[in-house]
Symmetry: C2
Subunit: 131 residues, 2 copies
């Protein structure tokens, strides 16, 4: 093997290793702050408004850089322990500094104004994942 | 550039792309069922028992194969909307069939017996992540 070939192989392996490690950290290894938000909507809120609100929440990651992960879904549990909550959202930040950017952010505050009048109940629970 | 150099570069880019894509899929692209469980413990339950219970919950992934992800933490939210819940656990399954293995599993049932007498409140909310 020439030294040039060997050098290219080193680059191949190094790039692959870096890419793989980054992916794995995103998946599970790096501690992040999970911000769990559950909504119960008022009976008077029409389904179209509920859809609009969920879409508006789902648009926040494109507006607020400190959001590093976002998931949401409607309840599909089978244990009848939802306490009436029907919509769940999990917003992830690198740490509490990321959350401190998010909470007062104009895009978040605009969302709060949109959703507020339609909520009959809300729960917020945050936790740090383990390293 | 020689054709050999070009060939190596193609390999570099292909390997890096494959590794990156796999990592990304693990992180967010495959739909899973998230099973969110919040606990509030009785005042009478001593801190040592709370620790024992959290450790017992965290041991379930090693006993029940259908658990594909597990996270937990104590509340660190700043919005005063926890409704008294102090401990949060998120158990992930590939789908509802995975949950159907978990709920009646002897290891889970043993855990339920351990924790039950110490809970003043519990909330369960499940959702499917988007593809």
């Amino acid at each position: 093997m020439t030294s040039r070939r060997a050098a290219y192989l080193v680059v191949v392996l190094a790039l692959a290793a870096v890419a793989w490690t980054n992916g794995g950290e995103k998946a599970s290894r790096k501690s992040v702050l999970r911000h769990v938000v559950l909504f119960q909507f008022k009976d008077a809120t029409p389904p179209a408004k509920v859809k609009e609100i969920a879409a508006a929440f789902a648009a926040l990651p494109s507006k607020i850089d400190s959001i590093v992960g976002f998931e949401w879904g409607t309840d599909v549990s089978v244990e009848n322990k939802t306490k009436g909550f029907t919509h769940g959202f999990v917003v992830s930040f690198r740490d509490k500094a990321g959350r401190a950017v998010y909470l007062p952010h104009p895009a978040h505050q605009e969302f709060v104004k949109l959703v507020g009048p339609h909520l009959s109940d809300v729960l917020v629970f945050d936790y740090n994942t383990k390293e």
